[in-house]
């Protein structure tokens, strides 16, 4: 990530935070507000980070994946379902149930990714159409099963949503979490921490291992990879499925870490915003994470403003309106895609099926 884009990211975050600090100064000290904003930013950036990493693995290997939204939605549902099943039907303790839910979410993401891989690699379906199919399929299946299982009398849960086993517990990072006030930033839930670790791991895998070199070769010039004996089809399948696992983990965030419930369409476009983060981050893990943090910051901004609603000065009244403030991440996404903050280059063979 070049310095120009990095400074834009820093600038946007500083502006958003400053506004909240100015508004909230009568209620809290700046340091408390900033700490809490940072903690929220990092947490809400989790599905975006994981979604962007998912996109990076797919697209670095040459497969465009706009189905991340659907993969996350389906994973959120089935992860949640698995956790409830374990907890209420098999009477397993909440924490193991939640962990089983995370595993189920990851597998769901992988399964949908397998479908996407088949469509785009084997059947050479237009990859954007393929991704749309995934999205529509996820909406249909989750909507139907949600209704069938929880709102129909004859179903296993007797027509009502059972009590969920809660959300994943926080993990205090030793020493860092003990810092007064600022320690809050290092007091996060497991998927958030996992996402950050995965950013680092992904970076090393992509740029410093054999797997990464081959993945990128297949996404840049598949024929060249084929000519030195690399199995292009296998590499693409594998990376798309890895991407699916990551998207699945991102989906788990919604129902197992953020709130213990499911509602149809709950991903609310975050799979697409994750793609924008991937593009803005130039298909690199750290870049994408930085971009995800901007979106996270705009969401944290929105959440905090709601809390400070009554102290928003009259001349800034529009900030009281959740609908208007809620536009921030979407408008930000569009601005970023215009390339005014610097053009990025996708892998050369991104979206192109490989024909021998």
């Amino acid at each position: 990530m070049d310095w120009r884009r990095f400074s834009v990211i820093a600038l946007v975050i500083i502006i958003l935070f400053s506004v909240v600090v100015l508004i909230g100064k009568t209620k809290d000290t700046p340091i408390v507000i900033i700490t809490s904003l940072l903690a929220t930013t990092i947490a809400v950036a989790t599905p975006l980070t994981l979604g962007a990493l998912s996109g990076i693995f797919c697209e670095r290997s040459g497969v465009v994946n706009i189905g991340i939204e659907g993969m996350m939605l389906a994973a959120a549902f089935f992860g949640w379902l698995a956790a409830i099943y374990m907890n209420t039907i098999f009477k397993i303790a909440p924490l193991p149930s939640l962990i089983a839910g995370v595993v189920a979410a990851i597998l769901t993401g992988g399964l949908f990714a397998l479908l996407h891989a088949m469509l785009s690699i084997t059947y050479k379906v237009d990859q954007i159409i393929g991704g749309t199919v995934i999205n529509i399929l996820a909406v249909g299946i989750t909507g139907f099963m949600n209704r069938q299982l929880f709102f129909e009398k004859g179903s296993i849960f007797g027509g009502q949503v059972p009590h969920a086993p809660g959300v994943l517990p926080r993990i205090q990072i030793p020493f860092l979490a003990d810092i007064p006030v600022m320690g809050r930033i290092f007091d996060q839930q497991p998927l958030t921490i996992a996402a950050i670790l995965l950013v680092i791991v992904s970076h090393y895998v992509l740029f410093h291992t054999r797997w990464g070199l081959r993945t990128r070769a297949v996404g840049e010039h598949p024929r060249a990879a084929d000519a030195v004996g690399i199995n292009v089809i296998f590499m693409r399948y594998a990376n798309v499925i890895i991407g699916g696992f990551l998207a699945g983990l991102g989906g788990a965030y919604f129902t197992l870490e953020s709130v213990p419930s499911f509602e149809p369409l709950l991903t609310n476009g975050r799979g697409f915003i994750a793609l924008a983060a991937m593009i803005f981050g130039n298909w690199s893990p750290f870049g994408a994470w930085a971009a995800a943090l901007v979106f996270g910051a705009s969401q944290a901004f929105q959440i905090k403003l709601q809390l400070f609603r009554e102290v928003i000065p009259a001349q800034w009244a529009f900030l009281q309106n959740a609908y208007i403030v809620g536009l921030a991440p979407y408008i930000l996404t569009m601005l970023i895609l215009t390339g005014i903050i610097g053009k990025t280059t996708p892998p050369a063979a991104d979206g192109v099926p490989y024909e021998k």
């Binding site: 706009i66 139907f144 697409f272 609908y323 536009l327 408008i331 996404t333």
Partner: protein, 379 residues
């Protein structure tokens, strides 16, 4: 030069050829629908229902009576407009996932003109002015909303797939704001985010007394014919198709590619906006929050099932409309939630998109060129 007879013979054979190619073009979609229904039957079975009963109910509900036909046509009307919107964009090489937002804006503007204009002007408008005005302004709102991502694509290369989706969320937020605030129905009994009812003068009349089918359906068919004519019989259509098939060659040939992209998106948004405007003035007589949700994806499925051809879009719309409409009767008969229709429709889309699967199952050879719709991020 060939003789008249030869010409005649050739014309006839070319007519037969066209018939044959139309038949072969429909083969895969029809098989895709059948396959999806088959898989859907398994889903229904697993959910504890009887698929035969379910499909019988579905058919009865969709086409079993005059009322069923009328309701199916009512459902089909916005589908045709929205499906045409997506199909037209596809022809121009653009993927408009934003039909939903464009539709919502068209609806909200048509509703606003419909209920607020007479009060603002303090006169009662004649229907001949009020109704067209409501529809035209609603349609223009949709066009404008789609032109923005079009312009971003043309001038900055920002990909329309993400931008139209973002515009959906922006539209949804804006409409939420309006329907919960300035445009909210002030009736003391009302608790929902919706506009007041539109004036009588802004309503499209029904075709038959006692049925809900309104002239908007006929308009939809006419618009489908116009879209066909535009695409294949005019220079503008030539330009749209050329830009869609090969923008580099279009530029080489002197076509203004940027202008064509913006125009294509605007026309696509116009059609989507029409779906919303007609639904308000022909059926709901107001706009209610959440009404637009789902239309964007349905429109994509319809456009693909209809192979982006206007006639195909009309047929696909009637099929989808019938399923939605018949779903209620199916639920009544089998207790299977209507939501299973979404699953079946998603499967239809899956099999249409991955026609190779269908061709493999039924051993159908590929006759035509692969439908190239979009290109990766490079644009």
């Amino acid at each position: 030069m060939e003789s008249n007879e030869e010409q005649e013979a050739r014309r006839e054979s070319s007519f037969q050829k066209r018939l044959k190619s139309a038949g072969s073009a429909m083969l895969v979609p029809v098989l895709a629908v059948l396959t999806a229904m088959l898989v859907g039957a398994v889903v229904i079975l697993m959910a504890g229902g009887n698929p035969l009963y379910a499909y019988l109910g579905l058919f009865q509900g969709a086409f079993g009576s005059a009322k069923a036909w009328s309701e199916t046509a009512v459902w089909a009307t916005p589908y045709i407009f929205a499906g045409l919107a997506v199909a037209l964009a596809f022809k121009g090489g653009l993927f408009n996932i934003g039909a939903e937002g464009q539709l919502a804006l068209g609806a909200v503007v048509a509703a606003w003109i419909g209920y607020a204009l007479p009060d603002m002007l303090e006169i009662s408008l004649p229907a001949i002015i009020h109704l067209p005005l409501a529809i035209i302004l609603g349609v223009l709102a949709g066009a404008l909303w789609a032109a923005i991502p079009g312009a971003l694509k043309a001038y900055t290369g920002g990909h329309e797939v993400i931008n139209t989706i973002m515009m959906n969320y922006i539209a949804l937020n804006m409409v939420s704001f309006l329907l919960n605030g300035p445009m909210k129905d002030k009736n003391p009994n009302n608790v929902i985010a919706r506009t007041p009812e539109i004036a009588e003068s802004a309503r499209i009349p029904v075709i038959f007394e006692g049925f809900r089918i309104h002239w908007g359906f006929v308009l939809a068919l006419i618009v489908a014919a116009i879209v066909w004519w535009l695409l294949w019989k005019t220079t503008l259509g030539f330009e749209i198709r050329t830009v869609g098939a090969n923008p580099d060659a279009a530029k080489y040939a002197g076509i203004n590619v940027k202008r064509t992209i913006i125009l294509t998106m605007a026309m696509s948004g116009l059609l989507a906006g029409m779906a919303g405007a007609i639904e308000v003035s022909g059926l709901n007589y107001r706009h209610e929050l959440g009404f637009s949700i789902g239309y964007g994806f349905d429109a994509i499925a319809i456009a693909l099932l209809g192979k982006t051809h206007p006639l195909g879009v009309v047929l696909a719309s009637i099929l989808f409309a019938g399923m939605r409409n018949g779903g209620t009767r199916m639920q009544f008969l089998t207790q299977i939630p209507v939501d299973v229709i979404s699953v079946i429709q998603a499967l239809i889309l899956l099999f249409v998109a991955a026609d190779a699967i269908i061709r493999y199952i039924y051993r159908v050879r590929a006759r035509e060129e692969r439908l190239v719709l979009t290109r990766g991020w490079g644009g």
